[in-house]
């Protein structure tokens, strides 16, 4: 009965991963990361219900907290990069290489 939830979770994760790999806009990449995180949350909550204890739901809360913190730092970085380079493309910030 939880299969649908897990399939949805897998689809969302795949969409997020695909977005991270193929989109150039940093904001979109960022949202895709959030999508992956939330796909994981969905899986956690589903398993929690399936197994019948609360651990999965607790971890889902932790993930949300970490995601919120990450949004704060990540957006700040993206805004700073945009201010200096006038671009939000992740491929433009490629100076740190061989």
């Amino acid at each position: 009965m939880t299969t649908h939830y897990l399939v949805l979770s897998g689809l969302l994760f795949a969409i997020g991963a695909m977005g991270v790999l193929i989109r150039r806009n940093a904001i979109v990449v960022f949202m895709c990361v959030e999508l992956m995180l939330n796909a994981c949350n969905l899986a956690f909550v589903t398993f929690s219900r399936q197994v019948g204890n609360l651990e999965g739901q607790i971890i889902a809360f932790f993930v949300m907290v970490v995601a919120a913190a990450e949004v704060v730092v990540g957006l700040a970085i993206i805004v700073t990069i945009f201010r200096t380079r006038r671009s939000a493309s992740v491929d433009d910030a490629n100076l740190l290489k061989y």
Binding site: A17, L21, V29, V90, D91, N94, L96, K97, Y98
Partner: protein, 634 residues
């Protein structure tokens, strides 16, 4: 057996008990001069002379104390300190007739040469350093002859080798001097190896290296023969005997007083000392080892004489003659107790007349702007009368002119040799004839004939400080031989230390070998007179015959060493260098280059695109998950 040597007894107190002072004085001198360096520049040479003289005084006092003892008690050992307790090796001195004879020669002639050097080195800015090395040499040489065991002897042996190296290369700014010093050191190492291995064998066989604990032998066996031959190798190195003779001629690159002190009068006789000192233990009369010594001596005395005939450099001529005269001593040292006395006698008289000749040569060079080529001398006897007369006395002594020193000691060796071994004895007679030729050639080319000087030469007599030692040495060259040999004074004095022959030799003024020797010497001198005093001597060296070239090139000794040892050695090093460059370095460098190259390619993976990294993370996570699924832990 009558050749029994006296027992060595312990001695304390008196001058003999403090004989270490003999070594300590010059050692202290060397120490002060080397440590306080420039501070001693002004009076350093005086300190050097004083230390050498102080040592001489101690030697003379010890000598008188020794002859005050009974004949059987004249071998006194003085214990100094424990040297290597684990092996029961103690450091001590052995004062006996043999060692005190050497000590007197070393300090006596050494002091004269120190005094001479004040004048000779007056214009050298490093005179103080020169005296430091001379003092170091005297100390090491005294340790060599005074030590009561082979270890002490070896330390002195290496000490004189070091001093010789430092002094040959004293003018090290001349490449030839630096090379000559290195050559002397390396060739001596070969001989030292023999001495060292000989000492090892002695220690494993007898568990001792002390002269007092070794027992004289009468019949040789395989072990003593091996020891004898190894010690002979050591003696050959130090005494420039065949086949290790090649360094001595080059050693003349050093200042002339060095040639006189080290490479004529004292150090090169260390080999003779070693053989005579070990005589009773490893070279019994008539043994194979003793025969080997005599053969080496006879071969070298001829080789040295032949080389001496062709040299135009006055010092190299004298060096050839030194080789030859030490050959005589070695020949004598191979003939048992009677020969020992004559060998030591010849050694002492040679110390005087050869030092006289070398210092005379130095005096000539001093007056001729350091010219050494005899072809540019000629007619000098009027300009340097004192040098001429002292040189002439040395010359008469070395060719064995009747009643001078060399006459007695060399004839003694020749007659003893003929008694023991006809062939070697008559070779020695032949050698004496050649000596007559080459020494006459030297005197005639230098002091007689026409002037062939360089244009800027102004020959003048040397200062008194240089001529006085010459006079003292030439007095020794006149009288010493007769004093030592007649009525067997030296032989009887040395008997407690080296043994007494079964019947005492009597000196024959008229004998077949003696007359033959004199006749050959006269022929040689006459031929030299015709060729080098009457006829004109070309200033430029003529090409000369095959034989002359042979002698000029030191009997191809250097060429032989070069082709047999040096070239193969160079090949070996070249192969090693090639292996090192291509093999070892190739491996190491190749490895480094491989890593460098591959990392240069690998770093291209770091593209700087965040999405590429993300992809690799995803692929990695996928692979990891797949692997876990395969193993079945999930």
């Amino acid at each position: 057996m009558e050749s029994e040597i006296a027992q060595i007894t312990q001695h304390t107190g008196g001058v003999i008990g403090n004989a270490w002072l003999m070594i300590a004085f010059p050692l202290l001198g060397a120490f002060i001069l080397l440590v306080f360096n420039r501070l001693t520049d002004r009076w350093g040479h005086l300190l050097g002379v004083a230390m050498s003289l102080a040592s001489f005084v101690v030697a003379v006092l010890a000598f008188f104390e020794l002859i005050g003892l009974g004949e059987a008690e004249r071998r006194r050992a003085v214990h100094l300190y424990e040297f290597i307790p684990n092996l029961d090796i103690n450091m001590g001195l052995l004062i006996d007739p043999l060692s005190i004879s050497f000590a007197l020669l070393i300090t006596g002639v050494g002091s004269l040469i120190h005094i001479y050097s004040i004048g000779y080195m007056a214009h050298d800015e490093h005179r103080r350093r020169f005296f430091a090395y001379l003092n170091l040499f005297v100390a090491a040489m005294l340790l060599l002859v005074l030590a009561d065991n082979y270890v002490g002897l070896f330390i002195g042996w290496e000490g004189v080798g070091l001093a010789s190296y430092l002094l040959i290369g004293f003018w090290q700014f001349k490449p030839s001097a630096a090379v000559a010093a290195k050559k002397a050191f390396v060739v001596n190492r070969v001989g030292d190896l023999g001495l060292l291995v000989g000492m090892f064998v002695i220690f494993t066989t007898y568990q001792t290296l002390s002269f007092a604990e070794l027992k004289p032998i009468e019949v040789e066996n395989g072990t003593t023969l091996a020891i004898g031959l190894l010690l002979l190798l050591g003696a050959c190195g130090k005494s420039a005997q065949l086949p290790l003779q090649s360094w001595l001629l080059d050693a003349m690159e050093g200042p002339t007083p060095v040639s006189a002190l080290i490479h004529a009068a004292t150090m090169v006789t260390a080999g003779v000392y070693l053989v005579v000192r070990s005589g009773a233990y490893f070279f019994p009369e008539g043994s194979g080892a003793a025969l080997a010594v005599a053969i080496v001596g006879a071969a070298t005395l001829l080789a040295g004489a032949i080389i001496g005939c062709a040299k135009d450099d006055i010092k190299k001529g004298l060096a050839g003659s030194t080789m030859s005269q030490i050959g005589y001593m070695m020949l004598g040292a191979g003939l048992g107790p009677a020969g020992y006395a004559f060998a030591i006698g010849h050694l002492i008289t040679h110390g005087f007349f050869k030092a006289d000749l070398f210092l005379g040569a130095g005096s000539v060079m001093h007056g001729m702007n350091d010219e050494v080529n005899m072809r540019k001398y000629g007619g000098l006897r009027k300009y340097m009368p004192l040098t001429f007369w002292t040189f002439f006395i040395g010359y008469l002594a070395i060719i064995g002119f009747p009643l001078l020193s060399g006459y007695f000691t060399k004839d003694g060796i020749i007659e003893t040799a003929i008694e023991h071994n006809q062939v070697l004895g008559w070779l020695a007679v032949l050698g004496a004839g050649i000596t007559g030729f080459y020494m006459s050639r030297m005197v005639f080319m230098t002091f007689f004939g026409q002037k062939r000087w360089a244009e800027d030469a102004h020959p003048h007599e040397s200062p008194t400080v240089m001529t006085v030692p010459l006079i003292v040495l030439s007095i020794g060259a006149i009288f010493l031989g007769g004093y030592l040999v007649l009525s067997n004074r030296l032989l009887l004095f040395l008997a407690p230390a080296v043994g007494r022959p079964e019947e005492l030799p009597t000196f024959h003024f008229v004998s077949v070998p003696g007359i033959t020797t004199l006749a050959l010497v006269a022929v040689g001198a006459g031929y030299a007179w015709v060729r080098y005093a009457q006829a004109e001597v070309p200033v430029v060296q003529p090409r000369g015959s095959f034989v002359t070239t042979f002698a000029r090139r030191d009997l191809y000794g250097d060429a032989l060493n070069e082709s047999l040892l040096m070239r193969p050695g160079q090949w070996l090093t070249r192969i090693a260098v090639f292996f090192d460059n291509r093999g070892v370095d190739g491996l190491v460098n190749g490895l480094a280059a491989g890593i460098g190259g591959s990392s240069g390619r690998l770093r291209r993976i770091q593209t700087g695109f965040a999405r590429t990294y993300a992809l690799s993370i995803f692929i990695g996570a996928a692979l990891l998950t797949g692997a876990l699924l395969l193993v079945g832990t999930i």
